[in-house]
Symmetry: C2
Subunit: 117 residues, 2 copies
Amino acid sequence: MRPFVHPAIEDVQPEAILHALSDPNRAAIFAKIMTAGCVEACSAVSALGDRVIPKSSLSTHFKVLREAGLIRSERHGVEMRNHSRWDEVEARFPGLLAAIINAYAAEAGAGPCRSGA
Amino acid sequence: MRPFVHPAIEDVQPEAILHALSDPNRAAIFAKIMTAGCVEACSAVSALGDRVIPKSSLSTHFKVLREAGLIRSERHGVEMRNHSRWDEVEARFPGLLAAIINAYAAEAGAGPCRSGA
DNA sequence: TTCGTTAGTTCCGAAGTTCCGAACTATGGG
DNA sequence: CCCATAGTTCGGAACTTCGGAACTAACGAA
């Protein structure tokens, strides 16, 4: 188990960010990490919506987010804590993360097939 | 050769947009379609930077951009003309495209390894 | 019309990526 | 030490992407 690798913010590539967030599961995990106060145990997101994600997939998802420069992970005892690197990413690519998170939120809220709306 | 399929703007998904633009080639094509006056023949982008992209790959890239809802393609005689659906996408996902294009531009301009710049 | 050229699409195999169960590692408590 | 919990790594099946070769469509010239 090698220690976590976090790219320097200067090495963060837009394509890696877009790739990481082009998976709805990862986008949901990232959104959750931020809304849940920027700290989240890995197992706390194992159910997203009504879908259960296997541990191994989850581990990979966190790795992708980490290597894209979106989150920072530390081991705390047996757990992992993740917090977003929003401020750094925002400084490098202004407006990018907000626009992406917004787009997902808009899609979820404004779909044409909402029964009650 | 079936006619082109363009999703209604209501059916455009953020994940499709992010996926489409997470490929640097496609992002460059999309940026070029916009900066070159929103109309561009397919063959006119066959060299991006110093890399030649085969016709078949190019055709697929355009298809991905089209099906993500980012561009609209029409056949004009033997050529294809593409223009961006920026206005529609902007109305649905405000700021998203600008932030992405900006991010790629920031990366290209601020890279530490630019020889000639 | 037929031939030739140009522009793009489709097919299909090779190469790469992603998914997820099983086995593994690391930490902490009895 | 042994067990439980939290997460990682391995490996194979399923999926995606790349790109060359063959194909189709539109146009011009003869």
